[in-house]
């Protein structure tokens, strides 16, 4: 199986090939909230950790010191000391708990705030990517990038980030103490742990790849589930449940396998750290005893050293755990960074861009060609064309002749591969999106509606529109009767993707939505293809009147639109082969005459 690959895809490569530390740094930089009050949180973490370590030791000491002499010699235990020590210990326990609580709350606040920012930034960036790039990734997988991929980071941020710092501190303290007690033994312990550290580093790289695999499988799974939900009607109509079930099962299974694989690798790190720790302790016992026998070490020092080794091993194991968690977070960051690293191929010039004044719009195509990236082939060849202000243009041609590509270039959903497009003399690339989208609006064939009321959907065209203006829009388009026939009028809810309405009705709403936006250039891409003829004629008539002040480009699926246009552009295999008013074109032999004959015979006019 081959895929039509495009250059305009999500940039996974950058985050995947760079070092883990760089990924973490870039990830952290995206959420400045993480750093808020970090010093205070660190201090609390230090208190909580020290408390956690000290409490058991203090209790042990209380028992040992309080009972000293009470055990064998029959001396009395020091009750007073025990009581005081118990009191102090209790205070330490409470302080430890309170610090841990305060630290947790601060961590939850900063990390959740940081992750929300990360989500929102990534979400915005998805919308800034061109339609071509957006459609290169399945929606379920895109959703994962702003939901579960971000969730993966939280565990590490709420626990791991600090623990690794605390653990390093503990390791340093334990190392120094060990060196003070006996530097040869300390050196030996370090040498034993060194290969483990190197091995761990290598293993972490493998674990990192495994977790990245897990994240990718989640994306695949959500894409498959999304397909089974969005395609519910098609699946039922063709009895394709089994096939879809199989597909979903495969992705669920692959996800589970990836998880299990990652878990297997992670599970390997713990026994190896246990074994290394045991080897270190055994070595300390053997070498320490030999040193003692040789008179280089006292028994007390050796026993103390053995305790210090356990202090050294503890943070080592925590660090192992944290590193594993970090790989998981890095995998999440990679997916998010994959979105953010993708530069929009159709970019908004932003503040540097030109703000176009409102008014009648002229469009010029200057030797424009377009080819889809990859091996898509050229779909539009050397289009030269001027659309005069206030003119009404109809575009006709067979399917696949380049009509929709033309409309996408005209509205800058895509940029031409060569040549340029000028709007009122300004290159389209230089026009600010805010200005462009206000002046140029396209109504696509499939008018997607949001799961909201009719009013909310139409108001999407212009958020400031009042209910009266919304109703007026329907009236002016000749759709008042349809609107009034709805049981709840403008308050009718349209359902998921507008599916409570028929395809024709959805087109009516999409049209009203574009109409209320009041653009200077209106592009209709077969926008009334599913509407009945009587309603279409009525809409067409209304638009004829309404478009007088503005420029209108209509991709016509019925030639009746062409008949009323000022000029008809005839597309054939990516070229404009004929242009002129209907009356002239129909008289000259060519593509248009053929299309018209076919339309007359099979389409509208019998």
């Amino acid at each position: 199986m081959t895929t039509l690959t495009t250059a305009t895809t999500i940039d996974e490569a950058t985050a995947r090939t760079e070092g883990a530390l760089r990924t973490v740094r870039r990830g952290l930089a995206l959420s400045p909230e993480f750093r808020a009050g970090l010093a205070g949180t660190m201090l609390l973490a230090l208190i909580a950790t020290v408390g956690r370590l000290v409490v058991p030791v203090a209790i042990q000491q209380t028992v040992d010191k309080g009972m000293r002499g009470a055990g064998s010699a029959g001396g009395a235990p020091d009750i007073g000391f025990i009581r005081n020590a118990v009191l102090i210990c209790a205070v330490v326990v409470v302080i430890t708990a309170l610090s841990a609580y305060a630290m947790n709350v601060r961590l939850y606040r900063t990390t959740e705030a940081g992750l929300a920012t990360l989500r929102i930034t990534a979400f915005r960036h998805v919308h800034d990517l061109s339609m071509l790039t957006q459609s290169s990734e399945r929606r379920g997988a895109l959703v994962a990038r702003v939901t579960s991929d971000v969730d993966q980071i939280s565990q590490f941020m709420q626990w791991g980030g600090l623990m690794i710092i605390v653990s390093i501190g503990q390791l340093v303290v334990a190392s120094v103490l060990m060196a003070i007690y006996s530097w040869p033994l300390a050196l030996m312990v370090w040498l034993i742990f060194l290969p483990f550290a190197f091995g761990l580093r290598r293993l972490q790289r493998v674990i990192s790849r495994a977790y990245t695999g897990v994240r990718e499988r989640v994306g695949d799974m959500l894409a498959a589930i999304s397909e089974s939900v969005v395609g519910a009607a098609a699946i039922r109509a063709y009895g394709a449940e089994e096939r879809t079930e199989r597909r979903v099962d495969e992705t669920v299974e692959r996800y589970r396998k990836a998880q299990t694989r990652a878990q297997g690798l992670v599970a390997m790190t713990f026994p190896s750290s246990e074994l290394i720790a045991a080897i270190a302790i055994a070595a300390v016992v053997v070498v320490g005893t030999l040193m003692g026998v040789a008179g280089h070490l006292s028994a007390g020092k050796l026993i103390a050293f053995m305790f210090l080794v356990t202090l050294f091993i503890g943070p080592m194991q925590v660090a192992t755990e944290v590193l594993n968690e970090a790989q998981n977070a890095i995998a999440g960051w990679r997916r998010v960074l994959g979105v953010l690293d993708t530069t929009p191929d159709v970019a908004d010039p932003g503040q540097d861009g030109v703000e176009l004044p409102r008014g009648p719009t002229e469009v010029r195509f200057d030797d424009v060609s377009f080819a889809y990236p990859g091996d898509g082939g050229t779909v539009l060849h050397h289009v030269d064309l001027t659309i005069a202000p206030r003119s009404r243009i109809a575009i006709v041609g067979e399917t696949g002749s380049g009509k929709t590509t033309f409309s996408k270039l005209l509205t800058r959903l895509m940029d031409p591969s060569s040549g340029r497009i000028l709007i009122d003399g300004v290159p389209l690339r230089d026009v600010r999106f805010s200005s462009l989208r206000e002046r140029v609006v396209m109504v696509p064939q499939d008018g997607f509606l949001f799961d909201a009321t009719l009013a909310a959907n139409v108001r999407y065209g212009r958020p400031s529109a009042t209910d009266a203006e919304l109703a007026a829009a329907f009236t002016e388009l000749g759709l008042a009767d349809w609107l009034n026939g709805l049981p709840r009028g403008l308050d009718t809810r349209v359902g998921q993707r507008g599916e409570s309405l028929s395809a024709g009705e959805r087109q009516l709403v999409a049209l009203a939505r574009a109409y209320i936006a009041d653009p200077d250039l209106l592009v209709l891409d077969e926008a009334t293809s599913a509407v009945d003829p009587a309603t279409e004629v009525r809409i067409q008539r209304a638009l004829d009147g309404l478009t007088r002040g503005r420029t209108a480009v209509t991709i016509a699926h019925r030639l009746s639109t062409a008949e009323t246009a000022d000029e008809v552009l005839v597309f054939d295999r990516g070229r404009i082969v004929q242009r002129g008013p209907h009356r002239a074109l129909v008289a000259e032999p060519g593509v248009y005459q053929r299309l018209y004959a076919s339309w007359s015979a099979h389409g509208g006019i019998a």
Partner: protein, 622 residues
């Protein structure tokens, strides 16, 4: 979602855990054994080190010499215990993970089965993003306590042994120290009660974030063409920030629960020590006893923490369970009968007094009834919103009528066995849904059909031409990603998908609206020719184009969900004003233009457009 009372949460949580254990008993057992081994080896390590110090190290220091055997033996014992510990930790980690992932996969499969099973009406009520969240985040939440569960169960034994030993040593000290248990119980009750509702809210908001994201990405084109990226980002930001706030609320409670749970056993030890010291003073117990009791209490802290991890995850787990059960317990899948539709040749279709309304809404179809004899072509015509597409859905049993029946070859569609209706009847919908698959996969949809027949279907749908030109032909990937096909090309692929099944009843719901009239005519002519040979289908075609309608043997004209008239195209033209008005709209428009060469003025509701567009009865959301 109903709020649970506290005792309910814990009970429900235990029930969920029990489900887990029952589903994966073996994996769970291995994980528990692993954690038991780990716990025993950990206690063993301390004991071994003590013994080695006592019996090997100190004598060596005292004597000034030692033997290789003694040292080697000591080292060997230390490493041997560590091997047990390593086995334990690896076993627990791996098998706890395995259990968690297997349960996740099982429930993900079950949830998506339901998605495929539940009727379309249910899907209309549930946003895709939420369903993704149910299958992902909610399933994950349910099984979150599984990771620490084997640990908790494995060390429970330790808890009992230590508790029994403490009891045996000194009753009073034990009782004081055991106050820690009611304290933990109270803490847990408070925790579950406070966290339950907040966790439910957080999980709901998680679904909402996913919902907004999915809808927004799906509407990407509209958002771009209207320049509404900022508004969409604001909408998403609102959801994301609400989730953030809910998560912080969860964090505040959890952030207290964890440290307090850790502090309680320590306080228990201290209380025991205090009471013990008094007992010691009165000579009621020995110092050795007290030392042993404090040691036993420190052993207690471990299982309590492990239990705490499980308890901490319980509220979220129960919330996830409730949300997933909501999907799994949803009813309303179409019931199937046992009848087979085995007649050869084109099907006979009878629609008997069908009434239908979307859940909670007014009826969209009123007493619709007609008969189509085998091999005939019937056109269904009516204004936008007349209920034609709804009727098409009823014909192929995407939905069942509220009353009345659809009979195929005399068999009520509801009595037909599972898979029978899709095998016999194909619907080509108005809007084409392409799967993320190859051209071949999109046509066969999993059926084992030789390429030859796929090509035949593509040819009949006039789609062979452009498929041949695709870079990889039948193997070209299309769907959400991949080849960019025009609307007309997509429609023709969908048609081929129907034709390759050789349906005995073919329902075309405005299925060629984006196809050129000439190509459409060729397609329809092909269908007619097949009918003439007797190998074709009974065809129901919903159309606006007059040429298409004219090909039909009969026309059913609908308005407002009712059949207004029925007859041949010619008959209806003379007898039905509404029909005439609809199908001759273009001609009238042209003749009006011819009469008035000037463009019509600004005319909102042009005079003479008598007939109203139909009320959108379909427009009902519950």
């Amino acid at each position: 979602m109903s709020q649970r009372v506290t005792s309910d949460i814990l009970r429900a949580g235990l029930r969920v855990l029990w489900v887990a254990i029952r589903t994966e008993p073996r994996v769970f057992a291995v994980a528990v054994v692993g954690s038991g081994l780990y716990a025993a080896a950990t206690v063993g390590t301390a004991w071994v080190l003590g013994r080695i110090t006592q019996n090997v190290v100190l004598p060596a220091f005292a004597a000034g010499r030692t033997t290789a055997g003694a040292l080697g033996g000591a080292a060997l014992v230390i490493v041997a215990v560590a091997v047990l510990k390593a086995l334990g930790v690896a076993g627990r980690r791996f098998y706890a993970g395995l259990m968690q992932y297997r349960l996740q996969a099982t429930y993900r499969r079950a949830v998506t089965r339901q998605y495929l099973e539940l009727p379309l009406a249910w899907h209309h009520r549930h946003p895709t993003g939420q369903l993704l969240s149910n299958a992902n985040a909610d399933v994950e939440a349910i099984w979150a306590p599984i990771a620490p569960l084997p640990m908790a169960v494995g060390v429970v034994l330790m808890l009992f042994i230590a508790a029994a030993a403490i009891l045996a040593t000194d009753l009073l000290v034990a009782l004081v120290g055991f106050l820690v248990f009611p304290a933990i119980a109270v803490l847990n009750v408070v925790y579950q009660r406070r966290l339950g509702p907040i966790a439910a809210r957080a999980q709901q908001l998680r679904a909402e974030v996913s919902e907004v994201a999915h809808e927004s990405f799906e509407g990407g084109l509209v958002i771009k063409t209207l320049g509404r990226e900022q508004e969409e980002t604001d909408r998403f930001a609102t959801s994301a920030r609400r989730l953030r706030d809910a998560n912080v609320s969860v964090g505040k409670i959890r952030g207290l629960f964890d440290p307090v749970l850790e502090a309680l056993p320590n306080l228990g030890v201290l209380a025991a020590l205090l009471v013990g010291s008094i007992r010691l003073e009165h000579g009621a117990m020995t110092a050795g006893d007290l030392i042993q009791v404090t040691y036993l209490f420190t052993l207690l802290a471990w299982p309590i923490r492990a239990l705490g991890w499980v308890l901490a995850e319980t509220p979220r787990s129960v919330v996830g369970w409730d949300r997933v059960r909501g999907v799994l317990d949803a009813r309303g899948s179409l019931p199937y009968g046992a009848a087979a539709l085995t007649e050869p040749g084109p099907a006979r279709l009878e629609v008997r007094d069908v009434r239908f309304g979307h859940a909670g809404g007014p009826p969209v179809l009123h007493d619709v009834g007609f008969v189509v004899e085998p091999g005939r072509t019937v056109a269904i015509v009516g204004p936008t919103g007349a209920g034609k597409s709804t009727l098409a859905g009823v014909l192929v049993r995407l939905v069942d009528p509220d009353s009345g029946a659809v009979l195929i070859d005399g068999v009520d569609a509801r009595a037909a066995g599972r898979g029978e209706v899709p095998r016999v009847a194909s619907l080509v919908a108005q809007e084409t849904f392409l799967f993320d698959d190859t051209v071949r996969g999109n046509v066969t949809l999993g059926l084992d059909i030789p390429d030859e027949q796929v090509w035949t279907a593509l040819r009949r749908a006039q789609a062979d031409g452009f498929v041949t030109e695709l870079p990889a032909g039948l193997d070209t990937r299309i769907g959400e990603r991949g080849a960019t096909l025009s609307g007309g090309q997509r429609q023709r692929l969908a048609l081929a998908r129907a034709l390759v099944r050789r349906p005995r009843l073919l329902v075309l719901d405005d299925a060629t609206s984006s196809v050129d009239p000439r190509v459409e005519a060729r397609i329809l002519r092909g269908l007619r020719e097949a009918q003439a040979t007797g190998s074709g289908s009974t065809v129901i075609v919903i159309a606006y184009r007059k040429a298409t309608i004219a090909l039909a043997d009969e026309v059913v004209y609908m308005e407002h969900g009712r059949i207004v008239d029925q007859g041949t195209h010619a008959e209806l033209l003379t007898r039905s004003a509404g029909y005439r008005h609809l199908v001759t709209a273009y001609e009238r428009a042209e003749s009006e233009r011819a009469a008035r060469p000037e463009r019509p003025g600004r005319s909102g509701q042009a005079a003479g457009e008598a007939e109203s567009v139909d009320a959108g009865e379909e427009a009902m959301a519950p």
